[in-house]
Amino acid sequence: MFGEPIPRREDPRLLTGQGRYLDDLGRGALAAAFVRSPHAHARIEGIDVDAALDVDGLVAIYTHEDLPPGVGDPLPLLIPHPALTHGRTARPLARDVVRHVGEPVAMVVARDRYLAEDAAERIRVDYEVLPAVVGIENAAAAERLVHEDVPGNVGAHLVQEVGDAPAAVAAAPHRLEFRLDIERSASMPLEGRGVYARWDPDEGSLRVYSSTQTSTGVRMALAARLGLPKTKVEVIAPDVGGGFGVKVVHPWPEEVLVPWAARLLGREVKWTEDRREHFVGAAHERGQVQRVRVGFDDAGRILGLDVTILHDHGAYTPYGIIVPIVTSTQLPGPYKPGAYRVEFTSLYTNTVIVTPYRGAGRPQGVFCMERTMDKIAAHLGLDRAEVRAANFIRPEEFPYDQGLTFQDGRPLIYDSGDYPRMLEMIKELIGWDGFAEEREAARREGRRIGIGLGCYVEGTGVGPYEGGHVEIDSTGRVHVATGLTSQGQGHQTVFAQIAAAELGVPIEDVTVATGDTRRFGYAVGTFASRAAVMSGNAIALACRRVRDKALRIAGEALEADPRDLEITDGVVHVRGDPTAAIPLRTVAVLANPLRYAFDEEARRATQFAVGGSPDEPPVPAGEEPGLEGRDYYSPVRSTFASGMHAAVVETDPETAEIRILRYAVVHDCGRMINPRIVEGQIHGGVAQGVGGALYERMVYDESGQLLNASFMDFLMPYATEVPRIRTGHLETPSPLNPLGIKGAGEAGVIPVSAVIASAVEDAEGIRIDAMPLSPDGLFRLRRRAAVDPALRVERLPA
């Protein structure tokens, strides 16, 4: 069961239109719409709602002035860090100044969304437009400020050092220095954000449905903002149509305002984000400028690596500086970079906020490291794979301490992996050896093809914890609950696989609930490739408690030593004696001493039916009624998955179009619970990576207008743009957790830009230092390289 590629248990519902996504709930609820700033930076001079007041179906209009303290205050800074000296967050509705196009200024509630938009359209906001700060380098130049009280636009500045990198670079036999650029993209789930709130005036309680990656986080934040005890707020993540990071931010302005309005109005209120809002009102990621200095020896071994990063975090920092921390700490990948110094400056701009998007800073770090590897290989005339191999951490060197502090505040110590073996696998899968001839043969036909390679290590399963609750009821059904949420990862399948394997029950008997605070109140959320590691292990531990209890009770009933018992197909029996058996459903009955028999089965547990000593309490000391158990998994530190990708691309000599001919992935996420689901995660990640490498960017003009805020112009790949992906798996179990698993959710996306850059560089013989790369971009590079030899790269050995 564990480890088998079984079909998903959530599919029958989702395939027949029976899914319940946020906007499928609350039929008849009032609809909210928002007036958003059309300017990147402006002072609000006045808001005139008069023209909106006679819109049919209007219920309410709110501006900042209408919000009580708590509700109207700046949103929380979720992840404080000592280096984030100038953290700033937005208010749910802007008070004086708006700092990006799309920032909410007023909320409208009406009978339906059409009418709410009618009213929103009629609200007049007078702005004094202020100069906007757009682009990382303009932010760094700081001729204008995003926040008056943040000098230099610098939100955070952090240096991490292992050894003396500048000295090591200076002393190295070979040195290179270069600049790299990565543009913005975004998570862009096909379901936008959304919130639906119901206030119960009789109970004084609030039920909120949110398309979120953390229902417990939203609950805590809402209780705090609205001044309600936690017990009066329940938050449920229904089916969620994709997250990829953007939905872990909380509480969003709308997530505070909609429940607040529902309570105030005593009516159900729902907000379903539309696509245009999502582009300007949610979050982006990726944009960085990196400057690299590297020193290395004749074999390509890095002796010193000194990286300076400018990171664009947008207008506010509600999610702290996780992204640049991840970039700077995951940058070394599977290598020993010798002395390493990384410095980042995280800067404000008048653009949409930047928070983690699948990969969460790793694609940028890997781009930096892998471009460095290719440049070293080109400089020395060595095979690119050999240079990587020369720098690998060896299998016998685990656990390997990189000497840095990771995003969870813990030391960055790799737990396990086998990078040399993985390199052999990826070379085999893509056809690395022999490619030189393939390339030459193509060239003779007038075709340009190139091969590229990229390696990464990903810290997965960050803490602090997750929990699981497992209950077997008197019908034998197993109810599993965990607090973190699902956005398509198949948790109802993989967690059931774990429970079925741990308990010895048929998987058909297991149901799994996620993301519902009514079922499990303590959780962190689904992000950082952590769900399988964290909740998977927590559920396994909870199952073991339940199993122990079941064996204890069954042992008494069967008059057998629990150590001689095992569970098969939902029945506890004495090992080697199939006649001495008791089904788990009966054990569940016995686990709950009863006064009242509510059904035939329950009679067994009533007070005149059970035996036992009259001098002992019916529930023994230290026991609880019910065949259930709860446990938590809280790791000392993250577990480190790894992978290598390779691609063969063809570039059109005339049109500069770039086509991926082959794409291969080798991935190691420890023990796989369900290989088919792991593979699906990788496929999806690679497709997003292809988007980031060749198609997707956020195009801001100098006034801070987002010029491509639609699916017409933000070019997410269709099926026609994604190559066939070949995958291979390596399983080096994690020694850190009971199941030996590592995370897999983000892996696919991480090295794609690096791999495509490497392959295009190989095909073209032109330095590729910026991504994404469009045909027009390649066309311009060709023209520049034709007159500037510095942009050309010597042809590499394969």
């Binding site: 049109t655 179009e657 198609y695 010029l707 639609s710 269709y718 743009e721 469009s774 066309f779 311009r780």
Partner: protein, 292 residues
Amino acid sequence: MKPPPFDYRAPRTLEEALEDLAEGGKVLAGGQSLIPLLNMRLAAPERLIDINGVASLDALEVTAAGVRAGALARHAAVERSAEAAAVQPLLRQALRHVAHPVIRNRGTVVGSLAHADPAAELPAVLALLDGHVEAASASGRRTVAAADFFTGPLESALRPEELATAAFFPALPPRTGTAFAELARRHGDYALVGAAALVTLDDDLRVRAARAAYLGVADTPVVLDLTGPAVQGQEGRPPGAVDWSAAAAHAVARVNPGGDIHAGADYRRHLVGVLTGRALAEAARNAPPGGT
């Protein structure tokens, strides 16, 4: 992203539609360009005249003279029509590049012409073929030649009270081949640049005429006669041996495209040359040696 309110008319006959139009309003046919604009509230017409119920308008008439598509002839219907493809193959060649199959199920050929998007395929086709649009209003009917129909980006010669009732694409002359080539960022996106080409052979099966029309390079389709550079200096060569680079260079020198977020002006101009060569070569290959 919900449409603003509008007054709605659903005429059942052409006469009713023209009466409604006389009072003012925007025509809704396939809606694949109009409804996105409504949803984004970039258009807010007072009145929408939904002609989808006017049964007579969906005719697709194919004669030896050409293909006449009624105002409700969907892209998909024209694309599927073997008769239309036989008389004027360029239509199918171009329609395959119009957005995605599902959009083509609803979108109409005439609607695409009336929308007059400078990056759309069909205006260039109509312009290259010297086709025309039939327009009707309560006060009369007229025919507008392609050369006069496209007046600017998203602007046509249609008067506010006029309905484009049909478009006519003349049949191919004998010994003529066509081709359509375009480059889009993703499959199905609006083209960065596109070229429709038409090559006619003479009795000796040598190139007699070569023309091309371009989309994405100006506010309206650009039609170029490339016969001179295509023929000069290579008289007598069979079409398969013609070097089209002079024609391509000629075209490049005569277009002045703009740049946008997807492609700069230089790149677009460069593509005009590449696509000219490719489309002309294919059109020449497609020219049947005898008759049509």
